[in-house]
Amino acid sequence: MATIDIRSVRKSYAQTEVIKGIDCAIADGEFLVMLGPSGCGKSTLLRMVAGLEPITKGEIAIGGRVVNDLEPKDRNIAMVFQNYALYPHMSVYENMAYGLKIKGMPKAEIDAAVKEAARILELGPFLDRKPRQLSGGQRQRVAMGRAIVRKPQVFLFDEPLSNLDAKLRTQMRVEIKRLQSQLAVTSLYVTHDQVEAMTLADRIMVMNAGVAEQVGTPLEVYRRPASTFVAGFIGAPAMNFMPGRMGADGRSVGVDGGLSFTLAEGAAAAGRPVTLGVRPEHLHPANEIPDATTIALRVELVEALGADTVVHGRIEGTSGPILARLPGTARVAIGDVLPLAPAPGELHLFDAETGRRMAA
């Protein structure tokens, strides 16, 4: 078992820097998910941990040992690739046994290990098949099997579920979580899917353009997003943002359109330009929330999702759209003006210039 330490790691391809200094300490047995939009550098960071890409600057240590100059095979890791990367000319059995054979493990032990992995992953009937004779879900399981038979110190996953259909993805997600908590192997998992991240992770690293915007538990990144990027990336529909300025008292924010919201705690100098954020699910009918600033939302679009109804609208006199997620029982029609108010303590305040969280 092992910890992973990522220290000021940078990566450049020729002149372009794609990882711009990331620090993160991953505890033994922890499941860390790296979440971010496509092209933000998730795979690159993961591949540096694997040893498939050289590290331009900084250090990565696995189990306390700096691995910068170690070959992948000397890092005691296993990786599951997005396209599974099974050996096409080998049977399922041989695919799983390959790494063990190289280690020089006796045949009987290899056999026991492969059979055990096949049992856990329900691959028993397929051991003699070639990868091309398997379905996507089964290939995915073989890739998992190949990773677990080796009993590595660290699991690395690069979007392992993104080639599966929605139903299978949910099923495999549960499976991966179960396996990982059973085996208690430190895991790094790359995805662009926030549901995967929220459900699998002990902690999430939210990445944006080569930078770790925030590292925290799923609830932390949801409840206290460290930046407007994180706030907008986590949660669906995305958080509403309203540009504004700190009021003279340093406790209230006047947003464009003339409304003023009072924050739970004091935050910044008067007159400072800020961005006020509130999640769609935290806007409620105004009569349920006493003493709060009321937003008059003119409804432009209604999405009835059954359990919820998502309302798209605009505050009179402002340009940005505002979304609200109301109970499925809400009766709303286009053109209605809904009086809504943010739940207490659910306002987020960000610096307008840096996008960083200020308070609240």
Partner: protein, 294 residues
């Protein structure tokens, strides 16, 4: 979708097929049939009288110790050319596949020899290995190593093998490189993580995965060594010294053009033709059943 038929429906397909069929008939089928016919004829030296002799020419050819010796030369020649050109091409392809800097230039340079006519290629080799005027040949002789491919059988055979193989390396290289690059990078990375070093990865992952290409190239190269190397041999050694570099295809030429034994030459070429047909059949069977991985 709209289909407009301008020509008469029944005539059009024949019209479209005609050029191809005509070319095949005039340049392939007709000469082939002529060769078969010719091989049953016995003609006197002056071409004045011709006689139908059934398979006499074949018996003569197959019992001729010179012809049997030529089979031996051809076997050595074909095996060496194929082995050398495929081996070198694979080595270069593996390096080009891994290599990073200057890769385009490297690949382009390797492809050039293929663009040369066989005779031109042979002249290049001649200029290098000629005992008196060739750079290498002269240096060898000056250094006290007796080198004259015009006198030494082994040296002559080595030289035509080298020149023939060199010309084919490019072709093989392109196919090997394409095959290597069609292996997903992640499969090789997975093997690296599984603990396999570069050598082991090559022998357990890459080589098995390019097996279909290797087999295809094997057929192509054997065919090349058998039939397309006439120009190289003719320009370098003319089949000599003695019969040291007289391969089967060169013998067809010698029998027909030099010895003027048209019947015997035709019999030899029919035997060779049967061999190509067999080889092509094997190749087609294989291509049809070609293993598809993944």
């Amino acid at each position: 979708m709209q289909r407009r038929v301008i020509f008469d429906d029944k005539l059009l397909p024949y019209l479209l097929l005609f050029p191809q069929v005509a070319v095949t008939l005039v340049f392939f089928i007709w000469p082939a049939l002529q060769a078969v016919w010719q091989s049953t004829q016995l003609q006197d030296v002056f071409g004045l009288s011709t006689q139908f002799v059934w398979f006499e020419n074949y018996t003569a050819v197959l019992t001729d110790p010179g012809y049997v010796g030529s089979i031996r030369v051809t076997a050595i020649f074909a095996a060496s050319v194929t082995g050398l050109s495929m081996g070198l091409a694979l080595l270069f392809a593996v390096m080009a596949d891994a290599n990073i800097r200057g890769r385009e230039a490297y690949q382009a340079l390797l492809i050039w020899p293929y663009a040369l006519a066989p005779a031109v290629a042979a002249v290049l080799w001649l200029f290098i290995f000629h005992p008196q005027i060739g750079m290498v040949g002269r240096t060898l002789n000056q250094a006290g190593v007796p080198w004259d491919y015009k006198l030494n059988n082994g040296q002559a055979l080595s030289l035509v093998i080298l020149a023939s193989a060199w010309k084919q390396v490019s072709y093989n290289f392109i196919f090997f490189l394409a095959a290597l690059q069609s292996i997903p990078k992640s499969v090789i990375e997975a093997a690296a993580i599984d603990g396999a070093g570069p050598r082991r990865r090559f022998f357990t992952i890459q080589f098995p995965l390019i097996a279909p290409t290797s087999f295809f190239l094997l057929i192509v190269n054997v065919t090349y060594a058998f039939f397309d190397t006439f120009g190289v041999i003719h320009a370098l050694t003319q089949g000599g010294p003695g019969t040291a570099t007289s391969t089967l295809i060169y013998n067809v030429y010698k029998a027909g053009m030099v010895a003027q034994d048209l019947g015997g030459s035709a019999a030899q070429s029919v035997i060779l033709m049967a061999f190509v047909i067999a080889l092509t059949a094997v190749q087609f069977r294989f291509v049809e059943r070609r293993v598809h991985y993944g």
